[in-house]
Subunit: 199 residues, 3 copies
């Protein structure tokens, strides 16, 4: 009876892996890379932030390696991006929603994992932000592009900081699940509002 | 009596470090870097993939730091590349052979080390590929060039995936040495055939 | 009675974090990045080398995360660089001095930490150099610029190697504090002389 919030968060998490893998594949397509380039950019986009987080936290092997759903999700996304042209209005809109869901989910995951190892608010929020936007940053650097979060588009970085701060506060109140849900909701609602209103 | 395959693999491994150090030095020469640039690019080309692997596997300090042969080999290669012009037909051909030997050796090493920590086939093959082509990828990014393995030249990435898969299969049969030898042979033979036939 | 050299080194260390954070912020300004770009480049410039060192040494979580002074110093520097124009002759000169002090301090810190884990002279000097110039290298790569230490300006890399070698020698004589002081003095004096004499 009842539902486990962990199942929902897990779904959002893997959905975010697939969405970011598709976004990495779209970059590979725009550069006319071959299949290996698609796979590499999908893995970096979808799993790079979490790998950076786990290496910095020194918390054992990155979950991106130990949990089969992550690598599989990124590789399936790379293959999809290779064969399909996902630039219709519907698929674009779905990608935006999934990406914003992942932004909130990953900000909270990184922050909760960091504070769980005893880190304070500043490094915990930093690790939330690294988890959420680090993969996209590394992907941009690898293809020789200035990371988009540095200028022009501050929305994602701002949302990641907000989501991480909310998660940190909720963890302090002993409510990590609430923090995860609030971070996801915050990033989705503010992110959609910002796009609609042209912030 | 008899020979130890470990000695052969060790020779191939260190030969690969020197060869990739020379290749890194060649990039430094083409950019007119100074001696420090030669040393840095040689270290990244020759040891970057293994360092990435060891950091991701969380398996203690990278062997690139603890085994003196690796750093020495990379630095000797940097010095050689700085003083010699290794672009005659003979030295080019020897470099190609040594580079292909290293490709198979490093693919197998990374895969065997990963599966030895309990990882499954997908992450183990990924770590084989990272070991084999990761150093060259990071080197290309550091000098502001799109990694060659992303497009145009899929040969090395394809061979690394093949060698890693062979090594994983052999490890499952309890034959890691066989896997190492088969990966080296596969990459060398297919690599030379591909170059000869213009694949 | 007496003074603790550790207090002086700590002051130099945090001063170096602020100075390198300001230098990272100056790069962000020249690229017209937003505040998030300032913060990211300040963190990478000021703390990237130490993070790389700690991850490679596999010595627990990076001190950049566990010691609040580091992240705070980098973020304060980012905010200062965002609101102030620190390009007057006095602030330029102070930045050069603080940067050279940090160069010697970080070279010695990295070398001493590496040799403390049992590494030999070559990897220990390498880790000193990574600590001292690694953050600036990563920052240059992230903004799509060839790392300055690779060519044109060999001064900083040369000083870092010298400071690291001195620290390694002093550690072998059981005098780490002396090595730290000598490395700082060497980098400051030779660095200022080189600038004055146009080496």
């Amino acid at each position: 009876m009842g539902w486990d919030p962990g199942d929902v968060f897990r779904f959002v998490d893997v959905l975010g892996v697939v969405a970011n893998g598709l976004l990495g594949g779209a970059v590979a397509r725009s550069r006319r890379f071959d299949l290996f380039g698609f796979a590499t950019l999908a893995i970096i986009s979808a799993l790079g932030g979490g790998m950076l987080r786990d290496v910095l936290l020194d918390a054992g092997q990155p979950v991106a390696l130990t949990d089969p759903a992550y690598l599989s999700g990124a590789l399936v996304a790379a293959a999809l991006a290779y064969v399909l042209h996902l630039d219709g209005p519907v698929s674009r809109r779905l990608l935006v929603v999934a990406d914003l869901l992942a932004l909130g989910c990953w900000s909270a995951t990184g922050t909760l994992k960091a504070t769980g190892t005893g880190l304070g608010v500043v490094p915990s929020v930093l690790l939330g932000v690294i988890t959420a936007v680090g993969g996209g940053m590394v992907r941009d650097v690898v293809v020789g592009q200035t990371p988009r979060v540095f200028g022009g588009n501050t929305l994602y970085a701002t949302l990641a900081i907000g989501g991480s701060a909310v998660a940190f506060g909720a963890a302090g109140l002993g409510q990590p699940d609430l923090g995860m849900g609030a971070s996801i909701g915050l990033c989705l609602l503010l992110g959609l509002a910002a796009r609609r209103l042209g912030w």
